[in-house]
Symmetry: C2
Subunit: 219 residues, 2 copies
């Protein structure tokens, strides 16, 4: 069920398919970047072809429809999220260090401008939240996966004795998730250079307030 | 500077202009609703004309360009926000009741589905935060106004002795703003029916933690 465990990277393609997949990955990396600026609905085979100096027909060979392209772009963004956020964070020990790592890597992802247009999934969420269809459903599923990863990290932190037993994991996850999303918003829209240091302070204060006396030191 | 004081409603137009303005307001109310679902870039004179059963040329008489239409739609959304959120909230006494009212009215605005597609300004923020131009600048200015309204409410609450002097208004505003935005996200994208009750609990808990012993009772 995890955004980490289901990574497409874990399934290696046969060698003869590898080159085609590399091309596809390069196309989709551009697609994610364009969509982070123009939105998924602003991503067309035409804009993508112009950006990549490819023919439209060459791209159509990879993606039959606009919806297929949008879905493939969402999967690529998920893969980048796993590579840049989930994977480095779960290398940290279970408990508070891993929970903090998940949030901090997510903040770093946008702070370091991995996507030109800010947080891909925050933008895609608000773009599709009033629509119906497979693209919206897929975005919602990935976001639930991400909340699950965070909730599991909270529960693990309780099991290993870093967070108090009476902390409600769902509520804590929504609180720190809101703080991080608010930071992306302020940094990207308002050019607020203090957004991330403020969000880190607020998340750390929240985690400290929920921590046990024996919990490891947080930064 | 306030999102409340600058309301266009406060400037009454001459009577002979009133009918044209009513038509314009009705058109823009639809435009706000369509944009809340399809995004501001998904709002074209064509989609709006089809929705209103009007001719494109009739609409072009009101809005010369797509950018003019987008800007007018943003102003209309701001006006709705003032009417539904700021104005009812500032009727409450200064201090904690007004601060709580501002946040609660904002939560209610989206919970009651005033816009078909969720929170207009959250969506517009993430849609335009990677772009340049007058539409993005106007959205950012309105969002700064909103943060200023909240920050002033916090400062007033300190002046009247409801919130502790050592509370940092900017940080408190970002924290409760993030909680509210997170609730809009969960409610609209994930169909999370508990999103608003959870956000209200979290905001109230935060306000209580910052309150003085003599502060009025919060719900």
């Amino acid at each position: 069920m995890s955004i980490a465990l289901r990574s497409p990277r874990l399934q290696r393609p046969p060698r003869r398919q590898a080159r085609g997949l590399r091309t596809r990955e390069a196309i989709l990396a551009s697609a994610v970047d364009i969509a982070s600026v123009n939105g998924l609905d602003g991503l067309t085979v035409g804009t993508l072809a112009a950006h990549l100096h490819m023919s439209k027909s060459g791209l159509f060979a990879h993606f039959g429809s606009k919806e297929d392209l949008q879905l493939a772009t969402v999967e690529m963004a998920r893969q980048i999220f796993i590579d840049k956020v989930t994977r480095p964070a779960i290398a940290a020990p279970r408990g508070l260090p891993r929970l903090w790592g998940l949030i901090n890597q997510w903040l770093l992802l946008v702070e370091k401008k991995v996507f030109s247009g800010g947080c891909f999934f925050s933008a895609a969420s608000f773009e599709f939240d009033g629509k119906r269809g497979v693209v919206r459903d897929r975005i919602a599923t990935i976001m639930r996966e991400w909340l699950d990863v965070l909730a599991r990290a909270v529960e693990q932190a309780q099991k290993v004795g870093h967070l108090r037993e009476n902390v409600n994991p769902t509520r804590l996850v929504y609180e720190i998730h809101g703080l991080a999303m608010g930071a992306h918003w302020a940094y990207q829209l308002l050019d607020d250079r203090r957004a991330y240091s403020r969000a880190r302070e607020a998340v750390l204060e929240k985690l400290r307030a929920c921590a046990t006396p024996g919990a490891p030191h947080l930064p």
